[in-house]
């Protein structure tokens, strides 16, 4: 869940953008509450109201004027980093940017209505199934011509992650970040801990940490999605990347012994996880690592946003240890964040000029200077400015064969949010009924994947 700063933010989060403006002002908020009430009963009508056509794009025209950007980068660090990038684009004098920033979780939840309403010209979004879904619905703009210009700067994996089911490109990758086990160097050297290479070593290390009065693995799942990272990595370590992909695509049975093994292994690790995770946000769990109350934390390296100054220098991490030798450590979750273009942008020429700029090594360098947890998607990005975290993250991603996007980006959003979130939370509450849990997931999956 988002930790809303105010009641207005919270209420505004309920409002479909077709009813509210993108700004969370009082007027829009009032306007929005009426819409929210109607949305509970009548989403279709609202969606239909919002889908009227705006002016058509001016393809091929020279870029000028203003380009609007819908951004979910509401946390302080990425928000500033993005603002720097847009300021640099403004300075080029091609077109002016206007950013509408919306709370991250709110933006995600509204995306459906937002894209069908009157979206900004360019918007922040994710690669993978989540991008292909909207591209397939005709809600994203084809930017294959932008890729003709920037394509040489990206390796194939990124191009594939930006391509829709129809073979056209709909996405400009900006950065990604690996999901790893993070720890504090000073604490580990003081206690003589070593990064574990196998599951058994991880368990031994956890036992030692418990004796030392630490919570071995920090854990938070109030928002519902962080536990997906644990499931993903265990699944890929035990069953491999290919099984992950087909399981997420709904092609495998969740009642398969392979999936049960994943939950069973997780059950063995749960006592080493920080208790009370369902009431904790990832920020709070990361803080426990900062305060040396926990030993390590499995999360995306964006958790480094919670580390400042000397603490950031002290942050180190390693890939989740091997479980099954045939898969080693050959897969990792490293979700790609980037930008999409609206289906019918008001200023298409400027939107494409901006996207081309965002795909450049220069734009990424500016961004990564401020946001310490991510690594650039562009293969020519200047890494000399990378801090230790970024260098190591790039190294780990580079050394891993299979890059997954994350459970909720690799599967249907309705399955991820209405089935997997409650299921994983149930598992954390009661890890003993694995058979009941997996058969319930499978039954629900069948009702969604039709």
């Amino acid at each position: 869940m988002a930790t809303y700063q105010s009641e207005e933010h919270y209420l505004a989060s309920l409002v479909p953008p077709s009813a509210a403006g993108t700004q969370l002002g009082r007027r829009n908020f009032l306007k929005g509450t009426a819409g929210a009430a109607a949305a509970l009963t009548l989403p279709g009508l609202l969606a239909a109201c919002g889908s009227d056509d705006k002016s058509t794009g001016t393809s091929g025209a020279k870029a000028s004027g203003t380009v609007t950007i819908g951004s979910y980068s509401s946390d302080a660090v990425p928000k500033k980093a993005l603002a720097d990038v847009f300021a640099a684009f403004d300075a080029k004098g091609t077109a002016k940017t206007k950013v509408n920033t919306v709370d991250h979780n709110t933006f995600q939840e509204q995306i459906n209505n937002y894209l069908q309403g009157s979206p900004d010209d360019v918007l922040t979004w994710f690669a993978g199934y989540r991008m292909r879904f909207f591209a397939g619905q005709g809600l994203a703009g084809d930017i294959s011509d932008v890729w003709d210009k920037i394509g040489g700067d990206f390796n194939d994996a990124f191009k594939k992650a930006s391509t829709g089911d129809d073979g056209k490109q709909y996405f400009v990758p900006f950065y990604n970040y690996p999901w790893v086990l993070m720890y504090r160097k000073s604490l580990w050297s003081e206690r003589g801990y070593q990064p574990p290479k196998t599951l058994d070593e991880l368990k031994t290390l956890s036992a030692t940490m418990k004796k030392d009065g630490l919570a071995p693995i920090a854990f938070a799942d109030k928002d519902g999605w962080p536990a997906m990272g644990t499931f993903d990595i265990l699944n890929m370590r035990i069953n491999g990347y290919d099984f992950h992909v087909s399981l997420m695509a709904g092609k495998e049975s969740w009642e398969d012994a392979k999936v049960r093994t994943v939950f069973d292994t997780w059950k063995g690790l749960l006592p080493d996880h920080q208790p009370g995770s369902l009431g904790r946000t990832w920020q709070e769990a990361a803080q426990s690592l900062v305060q040396k109350k926990s030993g390590m934390y499995l999360l995306g390296t964006f958790a480094s946003q919670q580390f400042e100054g000397a603490d950031l220098q002290d942050l180190d991490f390693f890939a989740f240890p091997e479980i099954a030798s045939e898969h080693g450590t050959d897969s990792i979750d490293a979700p790609i964040d980037g930008f999409m273009m609206a289906k019918k942008p008001k200023n298409e020429a400027a939107a494409k000029a901006l996207l081309e700029y965002l795909g450049s090594a220069e734009a990424e360098k500016i961004y990564l200077k401020t946001d310490p947890g991510d690594v650039g998607a562009n293969k020519n990005v200047d890494t000399s400015g990378y801090n230790a975290v970024q260098k190591k993250a790039a190294e780990i991603i580079g050394a891993t064969n299979n890059i997954a996007q994350f459970l909720d980006r690799d599967t249907r959003p309705d399955f991820a949010s209405t089935v997997m979130i409650p299921a994983l939370q149930d598992f954390i509450k009661n890890p003993n009924d694995i058979n009941g849990l997996t058969s319930s997931i499978e039954k629900q999956k069948k009702s969604i994947f039709v």
Binding site: Y10, A38, T41, L45, A47, Q110, L278, G279, E284, T418
Partner: protein, 315 residues
Amino acid sequence: MATSGAPPVVPGPLGRRAKRPHRRLVRLSRGDRITLFVMAAVPTLLVLWLVWLPGIASVVLGFFRWEGVGNFDTATWVGLDNYKNILTNYPPFKPAIEHNIIWLVALFLVPTPLGMFLAVLLDKEMRLSRFYQTALFIPVVLSLALVGFMWQLIYSPEQGLLNQITGGHTDWYGDPNINLWAVLVAVCWKQTGYVMLLYLAGLKAVDPTLREAATVDGATETQTFFRIIFPVMRPINVIVLVITFIEALRAFDLVWVINKGRNGLELISALVTQNIVGEASRIGFGSALATIMLAISSVFVAVYVRYALREEDNS
């Protein structure tokens, strides 16, 4: 709007009526008729558009499978599948129903008697009663979302007031075994003031001669209240009954602010929102949930309407 031509006509009939006071039957002028028509038609259309149309659309959508993208022609008819799935294949549904029922029972057992009791006390016109009245009523004015934030300060596991005082480490909002009760404390705190105000208004309206008569007949204070005052306040009792049902069914804001209605705080309204408003967009499934909620509410609405109509006939 079409009413713009009407106001100048209004002084007309009044003036005429003043000249001819003997005439009982007043013919409506054309302007009056237009005004009346517009006054009846505009609200009717609004109600049709904002209440009936969405209501019926929800029921209809409940029989479809639709991802909420594009026109309605992308929806497929699935008959009762959504309902079948809700009842047999949707783990959060059962706890949601249970929590709504617990919510309802709690609202009846705690804030209703407590609010009534406080109203009786305040009705005694003791010193500072205005102050108490205001203090107890303030939570009602606050939105539930805001109430959620205020109680967060009390319940927060690390910095919260409650754990600081007791020295405990209870995660009041996070522990699925207790978070519903923690939330209900906040809800009852708010609801008490509302019930209190309703009963206070009711008590003020009770004819004082009834009390006098009871005193003359030698009734005790308790007897007077339960045998005379309480039955006289029947309309207030019905209103309190109805608002309690409504509050229990529409409960949503607080659990949504806390954790989006998951992990021990499932409510039907939250499930509807999770399925419809979020990225998930299981519009048909969510509409079926909303229809179930509508069906339950209709029972109480029907009871209330029947009562209201009977009252009208009696008067």
